[in-house]
């Protein structure tokens, strides 16, 4: 099954995603998409590593679509963390700025994951409700991310928005 979890920065969406995948599998795969360049990225990665410690995760680093497509995901329960990073990496590095190509690549990676995995939990961010207009490139990125989120949500069994660590249901029923 596919679960999509959206939330703002530091909203507790990762912790909730870990909880959901942990209920679905005892040995989930943590699909890390973050590009580890820079001090801030390193700090975030360290924080998330500490959060996952002792929870039985196997970490797999795939920062673009090609590496996801090359990974063996058969029958796995996968927590993809997170979509904004993956889309940015694909758009700005893998396909060098072509929005159409980026969309195709991310779609290929996502359908591969949906097909191969038993459970797929996707973490995404609320990047587009800030009320700021950005340059053309950033706007194209935000639109691409928004469109992909809509596509995933349309097919997902469950969709949650996490607010202050509390999941609110956008789709599906969770007691």
């Amino acid at each position: 099954m596919v679960v999509l979890i959206i939330g703002g920065s530091a909203s507790g969406k990762s912790a909730y995603g870990e909880q959901v995948i942990g209920q679905l599998s005892q040995h989930p795969v943590y699909l890390a998409t973050m590009d580890s360049h820079g001090k801030a990225a390193q700090k975030r990665i360290e924080k998330h590593r500490a959060m996952r410690a002792g929870k039985g995760f196997r970490t797999l680093e795939c920062k673009d679509a090609t590496s996801i497509l090359a990974a063996d995901m058969r029958g796995q329960s996968v927590l993809l963390e997170d979509l904004p990073n993956l889309v940015a990496n694909v758009l700005f590095q893998e396909v060098n700025g072509s929005v159409a190509e980026a969309k195709q690549q991310v779609r290929r990676a996502l359908s591969y994951l949906e097909k191969e995995t038993t459970n797929l939990v996707i973490i995404t961010g609320d990047l587009a409700s800030e009320g700021l207009l950005y340059d053309e490139v950033t706007t194209a990125y935000l639109r691409l991310l928004g469109e992909l989120q809509q596509e995933i949500a349309a097919d997902a069994e469950e969709v949650y928005e996490v607010v202050a660590g509390i999941p609110t249901v956008l789709k599906g029923v969770k007691e």
Partner: protein, 114 residues
Amino acid sequence: MIFVTGPMFSGKKAYLKKLLTLSEEEFEKQVAYDILEDVGKTTDIEKLVTALREYRAVILPEMGSGVIPMDEKALQLRENCGRLAVRLAEEADTVIRVVCGLPQVLKGKPEDRQ
């Protein structure tokens, strides 16, 4: 403690004033709001949690939407705000998100706490 969250300027304080029916003076004493400056500066979220849970209600806006800022201070405010909100929601009996002045109950029952 009642924790009220939601976007900025969404009517959080007005909602809480109606819910709690306190005098202005009581409201000032019992409700923590406009705390973003302290939140942005803190390096110790737990210390803030300890201080804030003594209040009857705490108001803190959602700041985590939008493109992640490059500016370190802006980044820290968003991070602190989010982490603090998660902790306050854990401590609170009631969590309410106010959007367009309308309350969405995320935890507990507001009527029990009036």
